[in-house]
């Protein structure tokens, strides 16, 4: 272990903002992924200057620094694979400005997404990228992972909402990137480079974000399909129809069965359901869009189609999707719901085939996998249910994942649509981006010559995710 001088950390942050006891460090070694590794210390900055001082010290002492927001990343982005100092950004959580005339807000990176939306609500506005984890995910973590969510099909991902930012580079230098305006063509778009950089290029200490008005009308619908291919065909046609869904979600038969089994919701056990939504300021326009989506579902043999503007009815329609997480966790006492190969994207025309492929690969490898997701954005989610105690199950998961990613790449899909790469998806990422890996590494080292900022991730991650770090599960010998 490189020598870490705790007194230096004390000098920068004060005793009350440092943790070095193993009982604290242990929990900072995890996020929402399967990985675990121990950091050496956790520090909690309150301002940019402290972040700069830390980076100057760490860069000179060659100590890894791992930025951390809510720790809800699903691929081990915040797991300190080489040890080092966890930089917990949650305390830099001030909403600095809500500028209504100029339609932007400025926030510190530790602001929780839901909190920002709560503050914007009183102005009739919302921040749209919003991942499902918005109650815990921080703006810094969302930028670093380029988070998106159910509404991204209409409103875009984090990438589309970030106008500018202030960033502390691994050397401690503070730079201002982007602008406060909607468009900018003033040179390299370096703020966009930070989006999706997974805390490896710089530490976001302030962000300027776009927001949009909360729509007056929201209408949601559901359609059931007896064949996955019919649902798949409907997705592509909806997206090309001119109707812009504010949500378009697919839930497969395994997911429906899981929800019924554990929650007793009594949903019809069909091959797939599509949940669609339109929103806007004018009811006639929303009517038009929702009817268009309904017609397309009908055309592709969708049945039991219902739509509603009523919030309670909408909640009912969304129930199956909403209850999916707890359902999968309770599916079977021996099985855990793991986040692996969980967010690939494929072209619309391949959505149905992708879901079918997932079922086929799961069966072949003796694990349970569901397919669901934001199909309007081309994003397919999966969860792998397996007995995490059994080493053979990890071997099966490894095999299944390799096969699935091979398929994804073969149809011009991409490894991650939402959650990023971190450690868990590095293997497929490296194959997919083979011809730009050198370039990525060049960029990394230009900004971080000593490779101290969140090292060992993305292109630097080990090829085998199962052995990359300790696992958060107890696996039998």
């Amino acid at each position: 272990m490189k020598r870490m001088d705790v007194s230096k950390l004390r000098e920068i942050f004060g005793e009350q903002n440092i943790k070095t006891d193993p009982s604290d460090l242990y929990s900072f070694g995890s996020d929402s992924s399967v990985h675990h590794a121990m950091p050496w210390a956790v520090v909690r900055p309150d301002n940019t200057e402290q972040v700069q001082k830390l980076m100057v010290y760490a860069n000179q002492a060659l100590i890894p620094v791992i930025p951390r927001g809510g720790g809800s990343g699903m691929c081990g982005q915040t797991v300190p694979i080489q040890g080092g100092i966890v930089l917990d950004m949650k305390h830099m959580n001030r909403i600095l400005e809500i500028n209504l005339p100029d339609v932007y807000c400025r926030v510190e990176p530790g602001v929780v997404d839901d909190d920002l939306n709560l503050a914007l609500k009183s102005y009739g506005m919302f921040y749209p990228p919003t991942p499902a984890s918005s109650r815990i995910a921080t703006i810094g973590g969302e930028i670093a992972n380029n988070a998106s969510g159910v509404r991204s099909v209409k409103y875009g991902a984090t990438r589309d909402a970030v106008l500018g930012m202030k960033v502390v580079l691994p050397t401690g230098e503070l730079v201002t990137l982007g602008a406060h305006t909607r468009v900018e063509a003033t040179g390299y778009q370096l703020h966009k480079l930070m989006v999706g950089s997974e805390g490896t290029l710089g530490i976001v200490v302030e962000a300027t974000l776009n927001f949009v008005p909360i729509p007056e009308y929201r209408c949601m619908g559901i359609a059931n399909f007896d064949h996955l291919s019919d649902a798949g065909a409907a997705i592509g046609e909806i997206m090309a129809s001119g109707a812009i869904p504010s949500m378009l979600e697919l839930v497969d038969s395994v997911a429906i069965k899981a929800v019924n089994k554990t929650m007793n919701l009594g949903l019809k056990e069909v091959a797939a359901s599509l949940i669609f939504e339109a929103d806007g300021m004018v009811k006639e326009a929303v009517d038009y869009e929702i009817n268009k989506m309904k017609e397309i579902c009908k055309k592709h043999r969708g049945s039991d189609i219902t739509t509603s503007y009523d919030p309670k009815e909408r909640a009912k329609i969304f129930m199956g999707r909403k209850k999916l997480f707890p359902a999968l966790s309770k599916y079977d006492d021996c099985l855990s719901s793991t986040s692996l190969a969980d967010d690939m994207a494929v072209p619309y025309s391949k959505m149905a085939e992708m879901a079918g492929k997932i079922h086929e690969v799961a069966e072949k490898n003796n694990i349970i996998m569901t397919a669901y997701g934001h199909c309007g954005s081309g994003c397919m989610h999966t969860k792998i249910l397996m007995d995490t105690k059994q080493p053979e199950q990890w071997a099966s998961a490894r095999k299944a994942i390799t096969e699935i990613y091979e398929y994804v790449r073969s149809v011009n899909g991409t490894t991650s649509a939402e959650h990023g790469i971190g450690l868990s998806k590095a293997a497929s990422f490296k194959v997919e981006k083979a011809d730009s890996l050198k370039l990525l590494q060049t960029i990394k080292l230009a900004l971080d010559p000593n490779n101290i900022l969140n090292p060992g991730k993305l292109m630097q991650a080990p090829d085998d995710w199962v052995t990359a770090t300790g696992l958060r599960y107890a696996v039998n010998n």
């Binding site: 943790k19 006891d21 193993p22 009982s23 604290d24 460090l25 242990y26 929990s27 900072f28 995890s30 996020d31 929402s32 992924s33 675990h36 956790v42 909690r44 809510g70 720790g71 809800s72 917990d88 949650k90 305390h91 959580n93 001030r94 909403i95 600095l96 400005e97 809500i98 530790g110 602001v111 929780v112 839901d114 909190d115 920002l116 709560l118 503050a119 984890s133 109650r135 815990i136 997480f325 707890p326 966790s329 309770k330 006492d333 021996c334 855990s336 719901s337 986040s339 995490t388 105690k389 300790g470 696992l471 958060r472 599960y473 107890a474 696996v475 039998n476 010998n477």
Partner: protein, 317 residues
């Protein structure tokens, strides 16, 4: 990780599959009063489960500090209500505590303790809603497994010998300090709202709002662990500091987690109202309202009505 089982966690052992079932989403931690107070993720419910896993698997060394993670909990079950995966966290903590107690670790964490100058009046033993206090060879003892840190014994003890050491912002001194600070720093301040953690309190808002939004607030909400434990001093301190009024929220009488907290709160408020009256202060300036668990709309409506009433009454002259 390879399994090196610590054989002594006999009770915790049965939660092994639950510890694996937790997807570590962290949905629980924004709701936890411990996390809200310290801001350290390692005090939040998810971290407690990770700690329990570490102790059970032997990856994390058992120490006073790691044991304390299990003893620090108010049993408010906010985490369970927020959990994405139906994990019954407090059951896991209780079993971890049983093991730890058997191994000689007793916290105290948020468990109440008794100072040596206890008068042995046994009032706390009779009042503890969870039968956690008893009179034994060594005087009054608290069972750390049963104690749910409601603080009722602390409020009732005439000798001030019953104490909770780690209050995480919910003890008498914390509440008085915080409400005084708000009244001192906000010229617009009119009221203090003491919200029972069980009835309703604003879940998120861990982030700090712009100064422009907060500098002219009329009131501030402070969370306590049971309205039935609000001491006279806590409720009266804001009046000394020029508050126009104090509002207390408690749970409906048939829904109190700590048996008769709501009833106690109402009795306490009625008693203090008559004191206010004798001081020629309108007793309406101190009020208690019942808020069912999670009823955000009602809570806000009650606060708004109270502020309207205070505006009609004006400051205390």
């Amino acid at each position: 990780m390879e399994t090196k089982k610590a054989t002594r966690f006999n009770h915790l052992q049965k939660w092994e599959s639950t510890l694996a079932a937790c997807i570590r989403c962290g949905y629980c931690f924004e709701h936890c009063p411990l996390f809200k107070f310290t801001g350290w993720e390692s005090d939040a419910p998810r971290a407690k489960l990770i700690t329990a896993f570490g102790l059970l698997s032997g990856e994390l060394e058992l120490s006073e500090t790691s044991a304390d993670k299990m003893f620090n909990c108010f049993y408010c079950r906010r985490c369970e209500a927020a959990c994405s995966s139906g994990v019954t966290l407090t059951d896991v903590f209780t079993d971890a505590k049983k093991d730890l107690v058997e191994m000689g670790y007793t916290g105290p964490g948020t468990t109440s303790i008794t100072e040596p100058y206890c008068a042995q009046c046994l009032l706390c033993v009779q009042s503890c809603p969870h039968e956690a206090r008893s009179h034994g060879e060594n005087g009054i003892e608290t069972d750390p497994v049963k104690c749910q840190s409601c603080g009722i014994c602390v409020e009732i003890c005439p000798a001030e010998a019953a104490k909770i050491v780690h209050t995480f912002g919910t003890g008498k001194a914390d509440l008085i300090d915080a409400s005084n600070r708000f009244l001192d720093t906000h010229t617009s301040a009119k009221a203090i709202v003491f919200a029972c953690n069980w009835s309703y309190y604003p879940d998120l808002q861990a982030s700090r709002l712009p100064e422009s939004e907060t500098h002219d607030r009329d009131y501030e909400i402070y969370v306590n662990m049971c309205a039935g434990r609000l001491e006279t001093e806590t409720l009266m301190a804001p009046f000394i500091n020029h508050a126009w009024g104090v509002l207390v929220s408690c749970c409906p009488e048939d829904d109190c987690q700590h048996k008769d907290g709501g009833k106690r709160a109402k009795k306490q408020v009625a008693r203090l109202q008559s004191i206010l009256k004798s001081l020629d202060i309108d007793p309406e300036r101190l009020q208690v309202v019942e808020i069912p668990n999670g009823d955000k709309t009602l809570f806000q409506a009650e606060i708004d009505t109270f502020i309207d009433r205070l505006n009609a009454l004006g400051p205390i002259t």
